[in-house]
Symmetry: C2
Subunit: 213 residues, 2 copies
DNA sequence: CTGAGGTTTTCTGTATACACCGTGAAGTGT
DNA sequence: ACACTTCACGGTGTATACAGAAAACCTCAG
């Protein structure tokens, strides 16, 4: 493992988990001392953080953790909905039906016993299956970039068990649509799922406008 | 101007212009001597090239200029069509109609005297107007990443004057759709333009499968 | 002539030293 | 008392030196 990779992974995890709050100023020397590596790998890690959108470089002040709020959810979904819809449609055309039929079955089980950790694990496997089925590196890269930010959003909108069960059912519909080989069905199921997710988060935002002062 | 920025700009230009052919191995020491800077800025430039998808890091061999072919056009458009369609629709909802009405007028003039340089300049201005109208940094970032690759594709598919005139007319339709404030009209015009562009490039590929041995 | 093993060379990854810029604070002059 | 200037400190940007590893080449044996 390269030191720069380790530094990037550590910093990314801390930002995604909220341990490094938005607005925190990251100094090269400070982080190099804290993580026990030289400034060179830290610089590379900072560059990658900026490229991923997790931090921004302010001239003269240094690198600061980028801000994320529930307001960004709308803008994230404006990109996510068309991209994931397209991905699902292409997966329906090119994927192996048995793979997604199996995933649908797993989501059926997950629907009965909603649990956040395993749910997101399973959803990640579905995303991976779609990625490999589509076989488009440009699409995969963009979706990967998006998912990093979605992890931060997920922290802001803590899911309730009821929503998790609904989400599992919607994921199952997506898998069934892909397995059936019908692009429009897969696209419709994906669009429905994402719009319901967005509606759920928007409802949360309306209920409690400020989750953390 | 930082040395790392200069190095990145120089390398990006050379890759986009084809002076650095795909498959070329870029050594840190070689490029540092050629560009007259140290290895440190070169390393940062390489990282940005890899992040942009213009180069890939092969373990042990170094950084090589990524391959681009007419086969990639299909995959690029699989991402471009949904993203640009979404952007046009959002611009129709949020943009200033007068701006796009003015752009439509400019495209009408460009349609009468097709010229590649000014055409792409004008198209870039339209993209910029859409970006600012939408006001979504995630969408803007992804479109910017895409456009880098589209420049390389443009080199492979040299436009004929007839196609340029058609393209100007299609751009004009997009601007008129956005100016009218009708998202669906803007989306339809965008989808039509992109699909016709793709069809034109696909026709080129069918005609001359190997543009450069 | 071919293959395997060793050596050499060149590469990247990391650490560190130095220079420059920007900012902030303190002191002085008005 | 306020404002302006200057000095100092911390920061990033860049250069370079060193270590480890991998690949290519050369040599020797079969």
């Amino acid at each position: 493992m390269r030191a720069s990779d380790a530094a990037y992974t550590a910093l990314q995890d801390e930002i995604l988990e909220g341990r490094l709050a938005p607005g925190t100023v990251l100094g090269e020397v400070g982080q190099s001392e804290r993580l026990g590596v030289s400034r060179t790998p830290i610089r590379e890690a900072f560059s990658r953080l900026v490229a991923a959108g997790l931090a921004i470089q302010q001239p003269g002040r240094g690198t600061v953790v980028s801000d994320i709020s529930l307001e960004d959810v709308d803008r994230l979904f404006e990109v996510r909905i068309p991209l994931e819809t397209q991905a699902a449609g292409l997966a329906a055309q090119r994927g192996t039906p048995e793979v997604f039929a199996g995933l649908a079955e797993e989501f059926r089980h997950a629907q009965e016993a909603p649990e956040a950790e395993s749910h997101y694990k399973l959803a990640a496997r579905m995303d991976e299956a779609i990625d490999t089925s589509v076989g488009n590196r440009y699409l995969s890269t963009m979706l990967a970039n998006l998912r990093v930010h979605l992890i931060r959003v997920r922290r802001l909108a803590k899911d309730q068990p009821q929503r998790l069960a609904e989400s599992a059912a919607e994921h199952r519909d997506i898998c069934l649509g892909i397995a059936s080989g019908d692009p429009q069905m897969a696209e419709a199921a994906t669009s429905l799922h994402l719009r319901r997710s967005l509606a759920y988060i928007s409802e949360l935002r309306r209920t409690e406008p400020v989750p953390s002062p």
